[in-house]
């Protein structure tokens, strides 16, 4: 903020007062009235605007900032937290120095401890300590998360204890499988049982399979543990854990949508169009391509200028470049490297060049800006994220202040030999069929679209400068084409802008990817197709019949045994007298006969004909199942 006003003052100093009656003076009231519209709620709402930033607050803190009270009040809420009052700040006083050393020592001790742990456990001082440590290490609580167990396994591996590391890997994997609700831990399950249950989780099976081979070899084979294999296995286990974390972390890292001409938020660009319209211009908004059959006095494009002809489709639209080739004046809103860059080429308009300077440019070559629109103001507080990018320009300031050297952007570029300037020199050069073409027009290139953002235009000084510049390039209140080559205009669909600006795209993409993977996994057949397992359980009646058949074949002793067995099996089923009576009635057997038959089975020795009893019981079993 210290350099820029000086720079801006330098730019506009010396601009002669304009006395012409036809001059179109900048109408600050008309422009300011734009912010009274309901759409610019952030200027009037007491609530904090959604995109309030330090830059916004820097604007709001300026004394002339009176058109946007909501912004100012929102920033007031931030101010105490950002810059606490010096008087109320608690001071450590004399304790500060000892405390600083204490913190330093504690940090060093922690660091040393960490280094010591990385190098492995220290030698036990005594056998007792060793045993205690061993016991403590061997305890893995039932609810220990899989991740912690894998960490312990890595420690065991570092401690040169591969068998324990392998056992911990088994614990970790089986804990993870249990946590995923795939299979509860069961000591009777073998590794192959686990793999069978993991058929639908190939990513997990891919980790479990090598572990199973390694564990079986160690326990039942030659006892050897492949240390490198174990290291790799642990890495895969960790990646298994990290897989989900990365998925969600990536999902939450969506980039906010860049500002667009249809946004009324503080970082939007709609105020520029509204103000131009309020000032009497006919403004048309295009997305991607400008109407090729209509003449416009000015093109305002939000795009990326660093292009060559082959990349037109992805950056600046072809028609915009066509206009540039034809010599149309244009304003590019872009996040470029330097402040405002002006490519000073001959304009198609016949307006003579004004003796003025714009941003360090010579008065004799000021891009054809109509001199009536250069304001006589000494300070323009155009807010930009400038300091980092302006390092190279800062070194040139004395020469600019000297104003004895005529400077154009081209001249500046040719005189300052560094990467930034070379890129500026090539800024509007593009290659087509092995030939370099230079845009032959006046291009005012804004270093940041924030220069024309809604929040920047809430400052009267800023909007006076920006709108005057536009008007200077198109003085006849003609037609202005605004081209959004990077985004989409609001097509009226509700919530579309919110959807576009939401960070949900990575989530949706990953969900789609997961869906594809799921279909892929579901569609695969795992292993050999086999017949479905048939139930081994037979109905009770079939067993009774089979037994009956066996006993019948073995003679009268078998019949007795059969009858007793049947009665034993039937007993609980006819204990209820009502049920027994109903059953007897249904079978056409007297209840007494049934009771006698059951009683007969308890006779010792048998007095009743066992075959008769067996017949009754078999009927009962058939019906009573």
């Amino acid at each position: 903020m210290t350099i820029l006003p000086a720079l801006m003052s330098l730019c506009f100093l010396g601009a002669p007062p304009v006395q012409n009656e036809d001059i179109l003076y900048f109408d600050g009231d008309a422009a300011a009235s734009v912010f009274e519209d309901e759409a610019y709620a952030f200027c009037r709402s007491d609530h904090r605007p959604r995109y309030v930033t330090l830059r916004t607050c820097a604007l709001a803190s300026l004394p002339s900032h009176g058109d946007c009270p909501g912004l100012a009040s929102a920033c007031d809420e931030l101010t105490p937290a950002k810059e606490p009052d010096q008087a109320t700040t608690w001071s450590l006083g004399a304790w500060a120095e000892p405390l600083r050393w204490l913190v330093l020592v504690v940090l060093l001790l922690l660091l040393a401890n960490q280094l010591r742990r990385l190098r492995g456990p220290p030698q036990a001082k005594s056998q007792t300590e060793s045993v205690v440590r061993q016991l403590r290490r061997s305890v893995i609580l039932p609810n220990t998360p899989a991740r912690a167990i894998f960490e312990e396994a890595e420690n065991a591996l570092r401690g040169d204890d591969p068998p324990r590391a392998l056992a911990l890997v088994q614990q970790g994997l089986q804990r993870y499988i249990q946590d995923q609700k795939i299979l509860a831990f069961d000591p009777a399950l073998t590794h192959r049982d686990y793999l069978r249950h993991l058929r639908r989780r190939p990513e997990l099976a891919a980790v479990y399979r090598p572990f199973a081979v390694m564990a079986n070899r160690m326990r039942f084979g030659d006892g050897a543990v492949d240390r490198n294999g174990l290291v790799e296995l642990l890495a895969r286990c960790r990646s298994l854990m990290l897989g989900w974390v990365m998925l969600f972390s990536v999902a939450c890292s969506g980039e906010p949508r860049p500002p667009s001409f249809d946004s009324h938020e503080p970082n939007g660009l709609s105020a520029l169009i509204d103000m131009l319209r309020a000032w009497g211009y006919e403004v048309e908004l295009f997305v991607g391509e400008v109407d090729p059959d209509t003449d416009y006095d000015l093109l305002i494009a939000r795009t990326v200028p660093f292009v060559n002809y082959d990349e037109l489709g992805g950056s600046l639209s072809y028609s915009v470049y066509e206009r540039a080739l034809e010599g149309w004046p244009m304003v590019i809103l872009d996040d470029a490297e330097a402040l405002v860059q002006v490519v000073d080429g001959p304009s198609r308009r016949s307006t003579p060049a004004a003796p003025s300077t714009l941003y360090g440019l010579s008065r004799t070559s000021s891009c054809g800006v109509d001199p009536r629109f250069f304001l006589e103001q000494e300070e323009v507080s155009l807010e930009v994220p400038f300091m980092e990018e302006l390092g190279w320009l800062e070194s040139e300031l004395p020469r600019i202040e000297d104003s004895t050297i005529e400077m154009t952007t081209h001249a500046l570029a040719s005189r300052i030999e560094n990467e930034e300037t070379r890129s500026i020199a090539n800024l509007y050069t593009f290659r087509f069929e092995d030939t370099d073409y230079v845009v032959d027009t006046c291009v005012v290139h804004f270093a940041s679209s924030a220069l024309a953002s809604n929040e920047a235009l809430t400052r009267p000084e800023n909007r006076a400068f920006v709108l005057s510049l536009m008007a200077g390039l198109a003085p006849n209140r003609g037609r202005i084409a605004v081209v959004d080559a990077l985004g989409l205009a609001n097509d009226g669909e509700p919530n579309r802008a919110q959807l576009q600006s939401s960070p949900a795209l990575p989530v949706l993409l990953q969900l789609g990817l997961c869906l594809l993977l799921w279909y892929w996994a579901r569609g695969m057949s795992f292993g050999v197709l086999r017949d479905p397992t048939q139930s081994e359980e037979r109905p009770f009646v079939e067993h009774a019949e089979a037994l009956g058949g066996h006993y019948a074949a073995s003679g009268s002793a078998g019949i007795h045994h059969l009858v007793r067995t049947l009665a034993q099996a039937l007993g609980p089923r006819v204990l209820d007298p009502r049920r027994a009576q109903a059953l007897a009635k249904e079978l056409g057997v007297s209840h007494d006969l049934m009771a006698q038959s059951l009683a007969a089975t308890r006779e010792e020795p048998f007095n009743t004909d066992p075959m008769e009893v067996a017949k009754v019981l078999s009927r009962l079993i058939h019906e009573g199942r």
Partner: protein, 327 residues
């Protein structure tokens, strides 16, 4: 340890593949029968008529390069019809032993439960001792020797259940079910196209009987860890301790479990057996050796249920490593 079992695995896989060219579907059955043969065991195949039991045996005999014979067991079949008998030779003036069909390498005992117990028992010595004793003289059967018997589970009339002693001599009892629709469709389409899918002559000998013997010897060199031995003992003991079981599995069953585990390991090219090798064939080894309590049978429990319960309640060695220990 130190043996290379990759060649074993290759040969095993090639025999499997060759048999399956003729015997479509039921890959697990083919695998199981082959494991039993290489574990020096006999197999009882149970299945409804027409599922290809005989075809499987013939295809195996051809693929393994072994001599094979078939005995159709009937109610009037005599023991001497199986083992052979001494016949008076007028020319020599002495009794001369004429070998029965059991003197072969692969014997197909078709519908073995149709013969009376006396005839069935004639195979007991042959199956266990691999020898036949007649008139006080013991004659050794050719090596390798294995019996593949079949029985029909649904027909009970005119059949004689196999005695427990003989059942115990079968390493596996495998139930063959109907083939799946896809297999049956493939079979019929092959028939329609004149490919003769069930033609046993299509199966080529992949190994010789000498190879089979050497593979049997090699399988016995697979390392079995002590913990695995304990696991086998634990499984078998639990079948005896179950309240549902009248008679549990025999020590011969334990030996069978161990042997088949060795063959399974070798078939995968491993020089050591793992618990999966034991579990894989446990149902086939133990199922027919368990005699249930009558009330358990009446309640619908089967021997396979008992085996399943035993497997599900016995911790496998190595699982203790994953058990969280209480603080």
């Amino acid at each position: 340890m130190g043996e290379d079992f990759s060649e074993f695995a290759e040969r095993f896989a090639s025999v499997e593949a060759e048999v399956q060219r003729v015997f479509l579907g039921h890959e697990d059955v083919v695998h199981g029968v082959l494991v039993a043969i290489l574990a020096r065991g006999h197999v009882l195949l149970e299945g409804v008529p027409g599922v290809g039991k005989t075809l499987l045996v013939r295809a195996l005999g051809r693929t393994l390069g072994c001599s094979h014979r078939r005995i159709q067991f009937t109610p009037d079949l005599m023991p001497s019809d199986v083992t052979g008998s001494s016949i008076y030779s007028e020319r020599r003036g002495d009794f001369e032993f004429r070998k029965g069909p059991i003197f072969t390498q692969l014997l197909l005992a078709d519908e073995v439960n149709r013969a009376p117990a006396k005839t069935q028992s004639s195979m007991l010595e042959a199956m266990q001792e691999r020898a036949v004793t007649n008139d006080g003289e013991t004659r050794v059967l050719p090596e390798p020797f294995f019996v593949l018997a079949t029985q029909n589970p649904i027909e009970s009339a005119g059949t004689y259940p196999l005695p427990e002693a003989q059942l115990d001599r079968f390493l596996f009892k495998i139930t063959i079910t109907h083939p799946s629709r896809s297999v049956e469709t493939k079979l019929l389409r092959s028939l329609r196209d004149g490919l003769a899918p069930m033609d046993v002559s299509r199966a080529r000998p992949v190994v010789t009987s000498v190879d089979v013997s050497s593979l049997q010897d090699l399988a016995e060199k697979v390392h079995v860890d002590d913990r695995l031995v304990d696991y086998v003992v634990e499984l078998v003991a639990k079948t005896r301790e179950s309240p549902l079981v009248q008679v549990g599995a025999s020590p011969r069953a334990a030996i069978g479990l161990l042997r088949t585990a060795q063959v399974e390991a070798a078939a995968e090219g491993r020089e050591y057996a793992i618990p999966d090798d034991v579990k894989q064939n446990a149902a086939w080894v133990l199922g027919h050796r368990i005699i249930l309590q009558p009330d358990a049978e009446i309640e619908g429990t089967t021997a396979l249920d008992v085996v399943r319960n035993v497997l599900e309640s016995t911790p496998v060695p190595g699982a203790e490593a994953a058990e969280a220990q209480p603080e």
